[in-house]
């Protein structure tokens, strides 16, 4: 195995570890811990379903959170006033097809495919898509500076995004 290939695999293993840990925090509704994965000033977005290439100025994003809004979102979910998630839904996500590229020694661009299974009062909704990250190395883990979700569906049939995808 070439040294490059070994480095790629090593980086992917590091990223997988991080993404699995993130998925666990979201599935278990440990959102205050999840929020700590973000750098201050980070952004968290869900792209428009049909025109995912346009910017936030030229199209309606499903979610366009700066760090302040993201923090508020987490707070609202945890303090019980997000009635669409009070009581919490059951969530389980599968994360796969992880790719990672080191942009610089400190910055990694990563992406994964995901499926989120959400169950609430006998109704099951599924969300399938790709999540793209810009990550900053911090000690032996990472901090998120960008988290961008692209859903692979035409419309949000029987689903909304009151929880964190």
């Amino acid at each position: 195995m070439s040294q490059d290939a070994a480095l790629t695999i090593h980086l992917r293993a590091e990223i997988e570890e991080f993404l699995y840990m993130e998925a666990e925090l979201l599935d278990e509704w440990r959102l205050d811990e999840w929020l700590e994965l973000f750098e201050e000033g980070a952004i968290s977005q869900v792209l428009p379903l049909r025109d995912p290439t346009l910017g936030t100025d030229d199209s309606l994003y499903l979610i366009d959170d700066d760090y302040v809004r993201l923090k508020s979102r987490v707070q609202q979910l945890l303090n019980g006033t997000t009635y669409s998630e009070n009581p919490f839904s059951k969530l389980r996500r599968l994360v796969s097809n992880v790719r990672a590229v080191a942009e610089s020694p400190m910055v990694v661009r990563a992406r994964c495919n995901f499926m989120v299974h959400r169950s609430r009062r006998g109704k099951i909704t599924q969300y399938v898509g790709q999540c793209r990250y810009r990550l900053l190395r911090k000690g032996d883990s990472f901090r998120i500076t960008e988290r961008v979700v692209q859903l692979d569906q035409d419309n949000l049939s029987q689903g909304h995004l009151g929880f964190i995808l």
């Binding site: 025109d51 100025d57 309606l60 609202q76 419309n155």
Partner: protein, 419 residues
């Protein structure tokens, strides 16, 4: 009302008791499959329905395919510059004439046997035409046209050839649309990509009522008013600041034909300050104050909401008695200050969307109401009495529900006593 009168009313769809100030509608109106069928025939096939904005089909050959009411339409600006709507169905075997959502075309060719239509809906040619008899007249095979009219860029369609024209249908809503659209006079407006499209397990009338109802704001939207507004927007407003009778403008008005408007205090700071002097010159100080300090939420019967703040245009269509499909677009000036644009879109996204800080909680509540409606006794009623005997109804009263439901009842061809 005494018990004998109550009994006499028991089979009515709506109890509109102006004496006691009680307005009730049968819960079954929200979940009965027969009502859904009657609504399609008597309401969605008769009323003018919002379909698109002219900017979406601006140039000759521009087209859109979109479901409006119970049918998919092909809306196209012909080579002659005229806007037209057709059923998107080939006259040969019923194939789909245009399979793209939008674009620009010089002709439309049905995939099945290549029958080809012009942008004006005429059959231009058929494949391998030599086997057709000489009496086969292409002019008899134009696409089925659907009535289309627009008002200040808003395109409406109507499936009823005998219905009144659009302006007559809009009635008092014309003046409110003018107030909203005057603010963008001479400015090219555009619908931004990324319209929110989602379905929910609730009757379409519930979503219409919910879209206008400020009464639920203090309970369902605590997180928006007590958390998001103060902590993120930096705005602190009480119920009274927003919906209280702090001036003669705050309130809800009946605009005729089932339409209504609610006016509330504006709480988002997305107004371009330079506009004040321009408007004062044009409309006078009083109207300018009203434009700047208040927002109008317009309900166009049967199924359209226009919220001035962003602005947002929302339609909802029943897919069945229990399922509603909703689409929300934002209409913005094509060119504008990036900070104002950002404020608009953040305002829209933070509340209205499926990922906003408002809509998911509305869906949660409406879906539970819908389930419960099906579980109620057959003769159960729901209530929309709030504010009934008041001279002026506020946005957290329920005049807009009564205006809509009275028109709903008037349009539906149901025997009075039908259970």
């Amino acid at each position: 009302m005494d018990m004998t009168t109550a009994h006499a009313f028991a089979n009515q769809w709506i109890i509109d008791d102006s004496e006691d100030g009680v307005f009730s509608v049968r819960a079954k109106a929200y979940c009965d499959p027969d009502i859904y069928v009657a609504e399609q025939k008597d309401i969605f096939d008769r009323c003018w329905l919002y379909a698109a904005h002219e900017s979406e089909i601006a140039k000759p050959g521009d087209f859109l395919t979109r479901r409006v009411g119970a049918r998919e339409l092909l809306m196209v600006r012909g080579k002659d510059g005229e806007l037209r709507a057709f059923l998107n169905i080939c006259r040969h075997k019923g194939g789909t004439v245009c399979r793209e959502r939008s674009g620009n075309a010089s002709t439309f060719r049905c995939l099945y046997h290549s029958w080809t239509y012009t942008t004006q809906g005429k059959l231009a040619g058929v494949a391998l035409k030599e086997s057709y008899a000489s009496g086969f007249d292409k002019d008899r095979f134009s696409l089925y046209p659907v009535r289309l009219e627009s008002y200040r860029g808003l395109i409406f369609i109507c499936y009823d050839e005998t219905a009144d024209g659009l302006k007559q249908f809009l009635s008092g809503a014309v003046e409110v649309l003018d107030m909203i659209l005057d603010q963008y006079e001479g400015i090219d407006m555009t619908i931004l990509p990324g319209a929110y499209e989602y379905t929910m397990s609730a009757n379409w009338k519930m979503l219409m009522e919910n879209s206008m109802d400020a009464y639920h704001a203090i309970s369902v939207h605590t997180r928006f008013f007590n958390d998001y507004m103060p902590n993120v927007m930096g705005v602190k407003m009480s119920r009274n600041d927003l919906f209280g009778r702090t001036s003669e403008h705050v309130g809800v008005r009946d605009l005729g034909n089932g339409h209504s408007v609610g006016e509330i205090r504006r709480f988002a700071k997305n107004m371009d300050a330079t506009k004040r002097s321009m408007w004062e010159e044009k409309y006078g100080k009083e109207r300018t104050d009203r434009l700047i300090n208040y927002n109008r939420n317009l309900l166009l019967f049967p199924n359209t909401i226009i919220a001035e703040q962003f602005p947002m245009i929302r339609t909802c269509f029943p897919l069945s008695a229990d399922v509603t499909e909703s689409t929300s677009w934002t209409l913005v000036p094509e060119q504008e200050d990036p900070a104002i644009r950002a404020g608009r879109l953040q305002g829209f996204t933070s509340f209205q969307g499926p990922g906003g800080f408002g809509t998911p909680d509305d869906i949660e509540v409406l879906e539970q109401c819908q389930r419960n409606c099906r579980e109620l006794p057959a003769d159960a009623y729901l209530d929309s009495s709030r504010g009934m005997k008041q001279e002026v109804c506020l946005p957290d009263d329920e005049l807009q529900n009564r205006v809509m439901l009275r028109e709903w009842r008037r349009q539906l061809d149901l025997p009075m006593g039908q259970g």
